[in-house]
């Protein structure tokens, strides 16, 4: 296993953007916060973007709640730390206000599809995350407030959604058939008309007339918003593929998260996105005892001593089984860091910082 030097990575001057990706339940949010705290301890000016943090994490950072604008976290460190939460509804409201007049904006806010967009449409959170990343980066270039952006990616059915979501929204806005169905201005493809009639019938059958009407209204605005985001999105994508960005794939040492992490790592590499390392979180910690020492101690141990030694054995066996489960991920040859499971890791900033303080010698 090539060991990932987390401190060395966080010290890299050229690294401006770090994204934690992985399935739910592996500790992405905690690790993003911990990486941000550690980076600030190493002198970076950091802003961390989290998605739906547990209340306790916000509290650990000394904030009652996280807002949608970066707020300073009080931290005694050479660097600085700001934290913010991704707020999809707010981001769309903002975009909407820029696109249309107040009266129309009000009407659209009442549109059921608009209301559902933030919650229901897979891809929305990812889209907004991309947009926010781009915005923070542009701001950082101008006022130098930050030199590192750490991003905790949205929880989704598949970790790949983070990469696919934004494209899905855009493909949708540009889908010629959809445009015909919804009566949007379109490219002239006559052969689509027959299909469109059928698709219109299908949509009408599912949704009914009123809802279908709401959908058209919504999409006309939605299209404008998506196209307006677009030029920025291209820049953000370029940033993500550059050496200034790095993705960290997070997994827990169990078969399902590891399989998902491997898929994700493969995909990042296929897309030419930088993958400086993988983080294997929640590994059972074990005290290191040379096997020879253990074997000789066991021969002379009384029953009470044996209980202690046997417990050590079973803990070591559990850790080995976990590492075996993580092998498909470690085997990719990407530098990996093992992060031990610790009780009460989130109690305060110092404990968050320690999560990575011990990883790098």
């Amino acid at each position: 296993m090539t060991r990932l030097g987390v401190d060395a990575l966080l010290r890299r001057d050229d690294l401006r953007l770090l994204l934690c990706v992985g399935t739910g339940g592996v500790g992405k949010t905690t690790l993003s916060a911990a990486l941000a705290v550690r980076a600030a301890q190493l002198g970076r000016k950091v802003v961390v973007v989290t998605v739906d943090p547990a209340r306790r994490l916000a509290q650990a950072m000394g904030l009652d709640t996280l807002g949608h604008d970066p707020a300073a976290v009080t931290l005694t460190a050479p660097g600085s730390l700001d934290a913010m939460m991704l707020d999809v509804q707010h981001a769309f409201d903002q975009a909407l206000s820029l696109q249309v007049e107040a009266a129309e904006a009000e009407r659209i806010r009442a549109n059921p599809f608009y209301k559902a967009l933030a919650r229901a449409f897979s891809g929305t959170q990812e889209y907004v995350a991309m947009e926010k990343i781009g915005e923070l980066h542009r701001r950082a270039e101008v006022d130098q407030a930050w030199d590192l952006i750490v991003v905790d990616t949205p929880p989704s059915a598949s970790a790949l959604d983070f990469l696919d979501g934004p494209n899905r929204l855009e493909a949708l806005a540009r889908n010629p058939l959809l445009r015909v169905v919804l009566g949007l201005p379109r490219v002239p493809f006559g052969f689509l008309d027959a299909g469109a009639a059928l698709a219109t019938r299908a949509l009408d059958a599912i949704l009914g007339g009123r809802l279908f009407g709401d959908l058209r209204t919504f999409l006309q605005v939605f299209e404008r918003a998506v196209l307006a985001f677009e030029s920025n999105a291209a820049q953000t994508r370029k940033l993500l593929a550059s050496k200034r960005a790095g993705f960290l794939v997070v997994a827990a040492p169990r078969p399902a998260p590891v399989a998902e992490a491997v898929r994700l790592a493969d995909r990042l590499r296929d897309d030419g996105l930088p993958l400086p390392g993988v983080l294997i979180n929640q590994v059972t910690p074990v005290v290191e005892v040379p096997e020879a020492v253990l074997a000789s101690a066991l021969t002379s141990a009384d029953p009470a001593q044996q209980v202690v030694l046997e417990h050590h054995r079973s803990t070591a066996a559990r850790r080995s089984a976990e590492l075996a489960a993580a092998e498909p991920l470690i085997g990719l040859g990407v530098p990996a860091a093992l992060i031990d499971l610790r009780p009460d890791v989130l109690s305060d900033l110092a404990s968050l910082g320690r999560l990575f303080g011990g990883v790098d010698e």
Binding site: G25, N175, A199, A205, P255, A259, E260, V293, S300, V308
Partner: protein, 296 residues
């Protein structure tokens, strides 16, 4: 109206082992001689990963059982939409023949709850096309999304007032509120998952659905700690020995801490917590887990 058969919905916070518990529950139910079908709805391949067998739109064997049968099926939005269009409008070919992927994706995801209604509808419809199925187990979305998933019918029925899908939405809610349908919550005995499990149980009840059971997965046994702690044996220095005994007592404290979370969970949900012991992380031992669910 679909023929109703017992439906067990299994949810929980991401990473707590929903798929494992869903499979173990199905295995336990199959032991009574029933033909049980486990369904997954998000195409994550969890069933395939756990069993090594592929799952598709039609139920196919997942695990060998001595009695009964255990099959797996994947409920997918696209197939659910064409199924719905076919059943109600003879329009299944519309979704199948046309290059409708983005449109299907859109229609089934953006309309609030539409996708979920279609998925649940397709699941309950299985018993019509496969009357030999005795029980269904759903490896459901994680608890963060379960409220909107199971409550989609109520929301959609309200929104669409009289549109064609409203009828489907209402019928899905009827199926979910039927006494034969139970929702189970899987958790770990730790602060965050227990907090989320308690919230999830409340959400399920508020939707008018029946809360079946609460399963605490990967429960660690409390190790025996010698009292007093022994001195270091020959060959191990005091410092190292201190760390070894410290690890043992810390583990014991932590394992005992699970008891408090279990008690809180039981108190707040009003249900007995079914505890499932931690097994080897390589994932074998479904049968062992099914044994522990017998008492449920």
């Amino acid at each position: 109206m679909p023929v109703r058969c017992p439906l067990h919905i299994v949810t929980g916070k991401g990473g707590v082992g929903k798929t494992t518990i869903a499979l173990a529950l199905a295995l336990r139910l199959a032991r009574t001689g029933a033909k049980v079908v486990v369904a997954e709805v998000e195409g994550r391949g969890g069933l395939t990963l756990a069993t090594g067998r592929t799952v598709s739109h039609a139920p196919r064997p997942l695990l060998p059982t001595r009695t009964g049968a255990l099959e797996g099926v994947q409920i997918e939005a696209r197939a659910a939409l064409s199924g719905y269009l076919q059943r109600h409008y003879r329009l299944g070919f519309a979704a199948d023949l046309l290059q409708l992927d983005p449109l299907v994706d859109f229609a089934t995801r953006i309309a609030p709850g539409l996708r979920d209604i279609l998925l649940i509808g397709q699941l309950t419809h299985l018993t019509e096309t496969h009357p030999d199925i005795d029980m269904l187990v759903l490896d459901a979305p994680p608890s963060g999304r379960i409220g909107s998933f199971l409550g989609a019918g109520a929301g959609l029925a309200e929104l669409t007032d009289g549109s064609p899908i409203a009828e489907q939405a209402a019928s899905v809610m009827d199926d979910l509120r039927d006494p034969t349908c139970q929702t189970h919550v899987v958790t770990l005995l730790d602060e965050l998952p227990v907090t989320e499990a308690i919230e999830t149980a409340a959400v399920i009840k508020s939707l008018g659905l029946r809360l079946g059971g609460v399963v605490a997965n990967r429960v660690r046994s409390v190790p025996k700690v010698p009292d007093p702690l022994p001195m270091a044996p020959d060959g191990i220095d005091e410092a190292l020995w201190g760390r070894l005994t410290g690890a043992l007592t810390a583990e014991a404290d932590q394992a005992r801490g699970q008891g408090a979370w279990s008690a809180l969970l039981s108190h707040r949900t009003g249900l007995n917590v079914v505890e499932v012991a931690e097994t080897d992380p390589s994932g074998h031992g479904l049968s062992l887990i099914a044994d522990q669910l017998e008492a449920w």
